[in-house]
């Protein structure tokens, strides 16, 4: 009995409470949905929403590390998703004949993640020299640039090998050749190999990475750099290195999310990953609470499902969705309600 209690208090102490709650939520949600799915009780609408929901979760968890924990406003998360998505689709397309679906999915996600991490590193070098608004503007531009680059990219393969062209697709394909990325038409004819289990594993992976980073020496350094740059530098923290770490991990998670997303649809156009998508993910993070991973999980799921649940309202659904967003913003920032909530919490503890 005594031992059990100590495990419980270990899981719920300040260091672990947050992650215990996260993992429990994910596990409960997965088991419940999987039971519904296997017994055929989940509607087609929700079945179709499972994988994209996990993609946005992973991207939002990553962005929270960057915006919430590291304190850098990043408006280019969709750009990183695009890099992951299109590289993942290419890998899957190339290996279609030789590798079965599951290892191909894993490989595509890993390649998407590594490539995006590398791109994130390259972008991070100039970007992290900037602060605040300037950083936001540069990441915003980065997202748009990536989208436009992919729109002009042609990748195809046939018996003669891989062809890559930019702006003009100046290659003639052999019979049986196939476009992986066809400029503005995006990736078409992708085999859909993503599934909910893979998505959930990716969410858990993202949680493990982010929590272990936050509660490590490096995580404390990242937060110290966020709270007071000069004080952090004075005690010997390498600001550039810590910020870069958060930025690259955030980008890598977005890349993995993108790869999963790309492999869930048979067609995908680059314009999907414009600044609207970046802002959407940022909204998930901000409304869930900066630096609060559990808040991100809940707000992403709720805000992602909301427009679909409002379908019954027909023409007014996007209008009502916008109103709900505004109301949440106002209510969660209300001093009166905040004091009430913290008083309630104190009473409960006592």
């Amino acid at each position: 009995m005594k031992e059990k209690k100590s495990i419980f208090s270990f899981l719920m102490d300040n260091r672990h409470r947050s992650r215990t709650i996260s993992y429990t939520m994910v596990a409960v949600a997965y088991i419940a949905l999987e039971i519904l799915l296997k017994s055929g009780n989940l509607s087609s609408l929700f079945t179709g929403l499972l994988v994209p929901a996990t993609c946005y979760l992973v991207a939002a968890i990553g962005l929270n590390l960057n915006v919430g924990v590291s304190g850098e406003l990043n408006l280019g998360q969709a750009g990183f998703m695009a890099v992951g998505a299109f590289s993942g689709v290419c890998v899957s397309g190339l290996l279609k004949a030789s590798v079965p679906a599951v290892p191909r999915l894993i490989l595509a996600i890993i390649v998407g993640m590594l490539l995006t991490a590398f791109v994130g590193f390259l972008i991070g070098i100039p970007v992290l020299k900037l602060q605040g608004d300037y950083l936001a503007i540069v990441t915003l531009a980065f997202g748009q640039i990536v989208m436009n680059l992919i729109m002009n990219l042609y990748v195809a393969f046939d018996s003669a090998g891989l062809h890559v062209a930019f702006v003009e697709n100046n290659f003639e394909l052999q019979p049986g050749g196939k476009y992986l990325i066809n400029g503005p038409m995006g990736a078409t004819g992708t085999e859909r190999i993503a599934n909910f289990t893979a998505g959930t594993i990716l969410v858990v992976f993202a949680l493990v990475v982010v929590y272990n980073l936050i509660y490590s020496r490096n995580g404390r350094a990242i937060m110290a750099a966020r709270d007071n740059r000069i004080a952090a530098e004075s005690i010997g923290i390498n600001i550039a290195k810590t910020k870069m770490m958060a930025f690259v991990v955030s980008a890598a998670l977005a890349g993995a999310a993108g790869a999963l997303y790309g492999l869930n649809y048979s067609t995908m156009v680059a314009s999907k990953f414009d600044y609207n998508t970046s802002i959407l993910i940022l909204v998930y993070v901000v409304l869930g609470g900066l630096g609060n991973i559990n808040g991100t999980l809940i707000s992403t799921v709720v805000l992602f499902l909301l427009p679909q649940l409002l379908r019954g309202l027909q023409d007014y659904r996007m209008l009502i969705y916008a109103v709900i967003l505004i109301v949440i913003m106002l209510v969660t920032n209300n001093e009166f309600l905040k004091t009430k909530a913290s008083a309630f919490r104190r009473k409960k503890k006592a």
Binding site: S43, S44, L45, T188
Partner: protein, 408 residues
């Protein structure tokens, strides 16, 4: 405490604003689109075959989705007013987005969809076609013109889904059709300049096949200009086209940028012959556009709203009554034809609402590949087993503010 009331006030104001906006919407276009939907759904509950469909009802492409929705509702009501096959329609918003279209597909499936109008636009269509194939639900898209809507390999045009059909011309047909027409009429011009939107699959698709066909026909393309997004300044492209000595301007784009190109070309004193495709349809209705500039513009289109035949006249009249006097575009006409083609096939195959989707699908594929259909967008239409429609594109020329059939 003061802050609390401030917030409450703000929330209340937001709600008021939303409600008044919503009321505005229902006063004008809202009533014409949302109320009949409920009617169509409830009015034919017993024995009605459920038709689903999705399109952009919100966002920048909403014009097309709403046109299709209005025309489809109209056709369903007309069909239900007669004896015989009865339909009910459920039409969902997909915001011209692949992800939303897949979600809309789930909603339609939950709603018990038996036959579908697929999607209005191409990119979302390509995303849901495999889903229709998986579930063996018959679908015919009114206006998803890209080959990737009906083929698993869109570029190679191989691996047809087999149960997804098209009512509109496919993009390649329009491109090669235009090149063939221009080659057959050398009086239009000999030096061709093209301005196309290279981030739009529709425009790019037509241009690619136009270029290929132009090469085989021996046409000379002297200039290729591109633009992206919502650009509105075309002076650079027009200047280059003029400098290259082009006397024929091919515009495989939608009418909004086309109207700007015509206006700016006129200001420059550049007067080439202009040739457009079906996206040019609607140019006479652009607000603030001097329609005199569109005189002599050629376009390939399957539907002309001011045609003299009885069928088109009734359609245009009824559509205008529904959509606040808006003149139907070819998207509306294609959707109207889709529903009537479905009705014809259902009658012929004896489809009833209690049949399974797979049975309906098999019967519909058989009907569509064997029947001929006469509609607003063409007569004697036939479909091949890949789902492609065969109908003659009509070349039109704008004279005195009206479409007139051009020389064959």
């Amino acid at each position: 405490m003061k802050k609390f009331w401030k917030t409450t006030l703000a929330v209340a104001m937001t709600a008021c604003m939303a409600m008044s906006l919503a009321a505005c919407g229902s006063g004008s276009s809202g009533s014409s689109s949302s109320a009949p939907a409920a009617e169509a759904e409830s009015g034919a509950a017993d024995g009605a075959i459920k038709i689903g469909g999705s399109g952009p009802l919100t966002g920048p492409a909403a014009v097309y989705g709403n046109a299709v929705k209005t025309a489809a509702e109209m056709a369903v009501e007309e069909i239900n007013a007669k004896d015989g096959v009865q339909f009910s329609l459920q039409f969902e918003d997909d915001k011209h987005d692949a992800e939303e279209a897949a979600t809309a597909y789930g909603t339609l499936k939950d709603g018990g969809m038996q036959i579908s109008l697929a999607t209005v636009t191409s990119a979302p269509g390509a995303a849901v076609s495999p889903l229709y194939q998986e579930d063996q639900t018959f679908a015919i898209t009114p206006s998803g013109s890209s080959p990737s809507v009906i083929y698993t390999d869109g570029e190679g045009m191989t691996g047809a889904y087999g149960n997804v059909f098209q009512m509109c011309f496919s993009d390649p047909n329009q491109g090669s059709g235009s090149a063939t027409y221009i080659a057959a009429h050398p009086d239009l011009g000999s030096k061709i300049a093209v301005i196309y939107k290279n981030d739009d699959p529709y425009s790019k698709g037509i241009f690619d096949t136009f270029k290929a066909q132009a090469a085989t026909e021996g046409l000379e393309i002297v200039y290729e200009g591109t633009f992206k997004g919502e650009e509105s300044d075309f002076n650079v492209q027009l200047g280059d086209a003029q400098a290259a000595g082009a006397d024929l301007l091919f515009l495989p784009i939608y009418y909004t940028p086309a109207s700007q190109i015509l206006t700016q070309a006129d200001k420059m004193g550049y007067k080439p012959t202009v040739f457009g495709v079906d996206g040019m349809d609607g140019i006479l209705g652009v607000e603030g556009f001097d329609t005199a500039l569109a005189e002599g513009v050629y376009l390939l289109t399957p539907f002309v709203a001011n045609a003299e035949d009885e069928q088109t006249k009734t359609f245009v009249e009824n559509y205008k009554a529904r959509a606040n006097g808006e003149i139907p575009n070819q998207f509306a006409a294609d959707a109207y034809d889709c529903v009537y083609a479905l009705a014809q096939a259902c009658e012929a195959a004896g489809i009833t609402a209690d049949m399974s989707n797979a049975d309906i699908c098999a019967a519909m594929v058989e009907q569509f590949t064997s029947m001929t259909f006469n509609g607003l967008t063409g007569s004697d239409m036939t479909w091949n087993e890949n789902g492609e429609v065969t109908k003659a594109p009509k070349a039109m020329i704008i004279e005195n503010g009206e479409y007139v059939p051009a020389a064959e």
